[in-house]
Structures are given as structure tokens and as C-alpha cells.
């Protein structure tokens, strides 16, 4: 990516958030931010030949974008006096300076992830307005036609204005519930990158990186929230293994990964966050999943994994999230502790026949028990449910290795 575009994307959320506060209009903010990019692309190379960008690119872009927005509103005020009047009424803070106020981005995240919109619209709007991704990029990430994504985003923005979805951080009483919605959106973005549900790429590191970047922002703005720390730790620890998760076009399972290739600095950061969470002792789903990942990244080899600890953490998770998916993961740890037979009995009870990981887990347990024919059937059932080429390649090879 071009240097100016990279800086621009990093600063986009700040610029838009600040302009929305000042002008009270998302379209005006977004368009002005887009115009500021064009100015930056033209002028930065000559103004800043050494670094390619000004020392405070966020402030530069915000000021430039604000000027563009003022120009546009002046032009429109002749044509559309009513629009202008509405703008003044709805936005009492309009005359505040357009500074880079961190809270603006937090307001914008809560607006984008408001529960009054469908989850896919929240994801799209967050990536557009906070992440600065283009509509085309978001459409590509979720494998829908660009026109579909454009409509989705336009509808989502219209509802902000039409239904008056507020631009503010929720009241403390509502914060936990509303923050849950924000974190769920960011986790969804991350998971789509972690294992793309379809398309050619097995892993979409652009999406995982974007999710991490956005969670870092939330973490910076709400440093006291253990759930935010937990989600960031979870993402960092999963991301630390990213470069070892695919080899030769095949997905590599955790126990076969080259642990020397794991990113030690991400692991160190993730472990520090997990320790912070443990000290707070208010475990939730993200923190427990992070702790489980920390046990894995702590083990020097797969054989060194502390499965008792992992099973205990999954049991704790099952107590707050009694879903069959948690039970399935717990059974994998049980297999290491109590044997494949005990684990298989647990897995067989779970109502997950429509979920590929259930079939994969059964296939692996049946393999260990020497029940090749049943294992083969389970691999077939899993393969019928997936569309990720690297995962397909891996499972096809595992199936072929059966006795």
C-alpha cells in the first residue's frame, strides 16, 4: 500500500469521528475525509519528501477535511437552507474546535455497533467509518457484490440519521451490554480473517490485523475493562501463530505447527494482558479463551501442553457459556487427559451435526480408536460442510492416511 494511503487509513477513524462531532453528519464527514486524502496524496510527497507524511498526520488530515466540509456546507447552504438549519439545531457542539478528541472514536464505534442494526451492517459500517476500508474492500472481504455492500452501508447510515441513533458513549448502566455488541463485531471481523468461510485465501490477515487495530483503539479508550483486555489478548495470541497455520496450501493443526515460527512479541504482549485479567479476577468468555490460548502458547512443544489446565478453563467457560461448542472444545482436552473413548462419548452427545468441527473432532477420535471406516465417514461429513481450500486439503490428506 502507498505510504500516504497507509497513514490515511490509520488516521481515518479519528478524522471521521472528529468531523461527525463537529458537523453532525456522517456523509459530510466521510466525503470530507475522502477529499483530504486526495489533497494529501498530491501535497505530502513535495511537502514532506523525507518522511512522506507530516509529523501529526491526524491533525493535518482533520484540519484539511474540516475546511473541505465547511466549503461544501457553504455551497449547500445557498441551495439548501433547511438542511443547514437542521444541522445547527441537532448539533449544539458544532462550534467546538475540530481537535483530535479520543472520545470521538469511541462515540463513533458505539454508533456503528448500535444494536438497532443487523450484525452484518454493524460490521460493514465499523470497517468503513472506523477502519477506513473502501466499500469495494469490505465487499471483497465478505464476498458480496460491491453494489450490495454499498446499499447495506447506505441503509445503515440512513438509519443513524432517520431513527436518530445517538453519537455518544452509552450511560454507565448501559455500557456493558453495548460494549458487548462492539466487541462481538470486532471478534466477528477477526474470525472471518482467522478462517475465511470461503474464497481463495485460507487466512485473511488484513482482516485479523484490522480487528486487532480496532480492539487496540477500544483498549486505549477503555483501559479499565477486563473484557476488552481479554479480547485483545485472545486476538494477539491467535495471531502470533498465523504464519505457521498454513503450509504448502494446507491448514496445519496446532499440535503440528512449528512453534519456533510463532511471533514471540505478540505472545509476550498477550501473556501480559492475560496476567492483568487474572489479577482482576472478573473472568468472561474472551478472557477465558485468552487464558486457554496462553496455555497453548506457553508450551514449548505440543507434548508439553498442560491439558489439565485447559480442561479446567473450558469447564469454567462452560459454566458461563453452556454452549455445545464449548463442550466440543473441552472434549479435545478430555481426550488428552482421559483418552479418546471418554472424549468420543462426550462428543457424540452434542447436537452439532451441522458443524464441520464436530465431524473433524469425531474423525480424529475415531482414528485414535482404530475405527477407520467410521473415521472416514466423519471426514467425508466434515469435507461436505467446508469451503476453505487449505482446510479441505488438510482433511483430504488426513482421510487418505487412514488404515
Amino acid at each position: 500500500m502507498h505510504q500516504v494511503e497507509r497513514v490515511y487509513r490509520e488516521e481515518f477513524g479519528r478524522v471521521v469521528a472528529s468531523l461527525v462531532r463537529r458537523f453532525g453528519d456522517i456523509d459530510v464527514a466521510e466525503d470530507a475525509a475522502g477529499e483530504a486524502l486526495l489533497v494529501a496524496l498530491e501535497r505530502w510527497p513535495e511537502l514532506y519528501p523525507e518522511t512522506g507524511a507530516p509529523p501529526n498526520p491526524g491533525a493535518w488530515l482533520t484540519t484539511t477535511a474540516a475546511n473541505k466540509a465547511v466549503d461544501r456546507l457553504r455551497r449547500e447552504s445557498h441551495r439548501d437552507a433547511k438542511h443547514q438549519a437542521a444541522l445547527v439545531i441537532e448539533n449544539p457542539e458544532k462550534h467546538q474546535p475540530t481537535g483530535v478528541v479520543e472520545d470521538d472514536r469511541l462515540r463513533l464505534i458505539f454508533t456503528c455497533c448500535h444494536p438497532a442494526r443487523a450484525p452484518e451492517a454493524r460490521v460493514a459500517l465499523t470497517l468503513r467509518l472506523l477502519g477506513g476500508l473502501t466499500v469495494a474492500e469490505i465487499a471483497q472481504a465478505f464476498l458480496v457484490p460491491e453494489t450490495t455492500m454499498a446499499q447495506r452501508i447506505t441503509r445503515a447510515k440512513k438509519k443513524i440519521a432517520g431513527a436518530k441513533i445517538p453519537y455518544r458513549v452509552p450511560e454507565p448502566a448501559d455500557l456493558p451490554e453495548r460494549l458487548d455488541a462492539v466487541l462481538a463485531v470486532l471478534y466477528l471481523v477477526f474470525n472471518e480473517g482467522y478462517l475465511a468461510t470461503s474464497g481463495d485465501a485460507a487466512i485473511r490477515r488484513d482482516l485479523t490485523a484490522e480487528a486487532i487495530r480496532l480492539v487496540r483503539i477500544v483498549r486505549h479508550l477503555l483501559p479499565e475493562r477486563p473484557d476488552v483486555a481479554g479480547l485483545l489478548a485472545l486476538m494477539l495470541l491467535i495471531e502470533s501463530r498465523a504464519s505457521t497455520r498454513v503450509a504448502g496450501g494446507e491448514l496445519v493443526p496446532l499440535h503440528e505447527q512449528d512453534r519456533g515460527g510463532w511471533d514471540r512479541s505478540l505472545i509476550a504482549e498477550g501473556h501480559a494482558l492475560v496476567r492483568e485479567c487474572l489479577a482482576r479476577n472478573q473472568p468472561d468468555r474472551y478472557q477465558l479463551l485468552a487464558a486457554i490460548n496462553a496455555v497453548h502458547t506457553d508450551a514449548l512443544s505440543a507434548a508439553d501442553t498442560d491439558w489439565a489446565q485447559i480442561a479446567a478453563l473450558y469447564a469454567q467457560l462452560a459454566a458461563i457459556d453452556p454452549s455445545p461448542l464449548v463442550a466440543l472444545n473441552r472434549a479435545v482436552a478430555v481426550a488428552e487427559l482421559d483418552g479418546a473413548e471418554v472424549a468420543l462419548a462426550q462428543v457424540d452427545r452434542l447436537p452439532l451435526a451441522g458443524y464441520h468441527a464436530w465431524h473433524v473432532t469425531r474423525a480424529e477420535l475415531l482414528r485414535r480408536l482404530g475405527r477407520s471406516a467410521e473415521s472416514r465417514e466423519a471426514y467425508d461429513a466434515a469435507l461436505a460442510l467446508i469451503d476453505n481450500p487449505a482446510e479441505t486439503a488438510y482433511l483430504t490428506r488426513r482421510r487418505a492416511q487412514l488404515a
Partner: protein, 122 residues
């Protein structure tokens, strides 16, 4: 301020549930709705509200052609129908959703929140 309609929709299952209620339970629902109405009025958010007669009381008028056609029954042939509604004034959607949560609890049914197109003329 924006005006929002909080509407309560009924389907046959709701009707059956209502029909099965004891008079005491019915009384509880009425009291809860009265208390909610009073709270909306006290907060200055009240514009209008009320429960509608049963759907078979409705008459549809279509005067889009040459003659006005009057038909017995509702416009839409659907199992769900509007049972009642409130119109409230709220600063934003979050405030309207808060009222809807309380209204839904009071009338024991889901509440749809929908903004009006424009603010009323002063």
C-alpha cells in the same frame, strides 16, 4: 426531539394467550399499562396512545380509483395486526428504546419502535 411510534403487534398466539388469562391477570396487565402511561406522561414524553378494537372491527376505504370502495376488514391479509400504539417524544433512539423496553414489559408483548419522518410543525 423526535416523535416515535411504539406499536404493539398481535398474532393468533398472542390472542390465545390473552384469552387464556384469568381476570386477575388481565387486571395486572391493565394496571401495568396504566402505570407505564402515567410514567410517560410524567416525563413529558407522551403524545398519544391507546389500544385498538379487535381487527374484525376494521373497515378499509380505497379512493384511488374512480369510486371509493369500502371493504369490510383490514387492508393487509396477514395474521399479525396492530393491537395498539403509543406516540412519544424522545431525544434519540436510545431514549425511545428505553421507553419501548418498559412498554413491552407492561403490555407483555414485543414493541416496534419507528421514528416519524419529520418533527411536528411548531
Amino acid at each position: 426531539m423526535t416523535q416515535y411510534m411504539l406499536s404493539v403487534h398481535h398474532d393468533p398466539a398472542d390472542d390465545a394467550r390473552m384469552a387464556a388469562m384469568s381476570p386477575e391477570e388481565m387486571q395486572e396487565v391493565f394496571q401495568a399499562v396504566d402505570a407505564f402511561n402515567a410514567a410517560v406522561q410524567e416525563a413529558g414524553a407522551w403524545v398519544f396512545g391507546g389500544g385498538l378494537q379487535a381487527i374484525d372491527m376494521s373497515t378499509t376505504v380505497d379512493n384511488t380509483g374512480t369510486d371509493a370502495v369500502v371493504t369490510d376488514g383490514p387492508f393487509a391479509e396477514s395474521k399479525e395486526y396492530l393491537g395498539g400504539f403509543w406516540i412519544i417524544e424522545a431525544a434519540d433512539l436510545d431514549a425511545a428504546l428505553d421507553w419501548a423496553k418498559r412498554g413491552s414489559q407492561a403490555c407483555r408483548g414485543p414493541v416496534e419502535v419507528r421514528p416519524f419522518q419529520e418533527e411536528p410543525a411548531e
